[in-house]
Symmetry: C2
Subunit: 209 residues, 2 copies
Amino acid sequence: MGDLSTGPAAAADRFPKQDRSRATRLRILEAAVSCLAEHGWSGSTVAVVCARAGVSRGAAQHHFPTREELFTAAIAHMAEQWLTAVRERALALPHEGPDRTYAVVDMLVAVHTGPLFRAALHLWTAATAEEQLRPGVTALEARIGREAHRLAVDFLGADESRPGVRETVQATLDMARGLGLANLLSDDSARRGRIVRQWAAVLDQVLSD
Amino acid sequence: MGDLSTGPAAAADRFPKQDRSRATRLRILEAAVSCLAEHGWSGSTVAVVCARAGVSRGAAQHHFPTREELFTAAIAHMAEQWLTAVRERALALPHEGPDRTYAVVDMLVAVHTGPLFRAALHLWTAATAEEQLRPGVTALEARIGREAHRLAVDFLGADESRPGVRETVQATLDMARGLGLANLLSDDSARRGRIVRQWAAVLDQVLSD
């Protein structure tokens, strides 16, 4: 009591300006992804994101001059976070054999049925119709695709020099994307669980042939 | 010359009113799918569709009272046309063996990389954010999914009573959807060709095991 330095304003003062700026940027990015996942591209204006993040329009524009930059950066940021989380989670997976293959496929598919995939999908489809959005999103999609592939090869211990292995790993990621689509409008988890189990068995055979 | 009955207005007079109404309906549906594929949901207003189809707003509203009904009917109509075309095309496929499996997978994937898939994708993603659109699109997606599955089972001669066969056929359709997504922003045909060839070989083994 009486010590005003414990209040939130004083706490903010303890952080250097740069850290606060970084925290604001992060809040904007996370709000942008949530908005995209919930309201789609046309419902996700900069104003809606600012309201959700609790920041001023000016603060958002300081970090991201255009709406296109804001949303492309938001998906890029969340994809980075996802890659980091997946790398950590992978440490706890079974070390080898069919159990590992199943666990990896299950993890890859789980990522494609969550809010990040949903947000990315809205950005992807919007980019097909919006010229301004397309170059940034196309480059981002290619980068995420390459990273996801590298990760999958690494986690599966796949030897891509053997015929058909590279394509089967790619097919696994395409199937994961398709399962993400199938989960958009309804809960597809029961059907998906059976498909993941079967696909993992088939993939494991291709990898160990 | 001088015989005005060869002009388009006179030609239209030769058709009964019901046929002209059906032709107008068809023109509206086809214009709606093209608009969706090119401009996405937010760019596809009823006015844009009417301009493209060359019909009055009143004519469109006579056939489809709401925007939601118009676009859901358009995708339903195109999906029916697609199913018919695929059934016809299937008659020319190789009759059995790995060549047939490859041809069927290639055909299923081709459908998911064309303008109909692109239009449907815009409707699907819009439906996640728009309450009014969701029930109709969810029902339609389920119906198309069931039909596509039945067709795939039929064409592949797949015996679904054997363990894993049903899930592998479903996974093939999910992979086709994922390949459609991967083709949205860039030409993915070279990579896709290799994946289709490899997956067809794997699928053929599962089917004939």
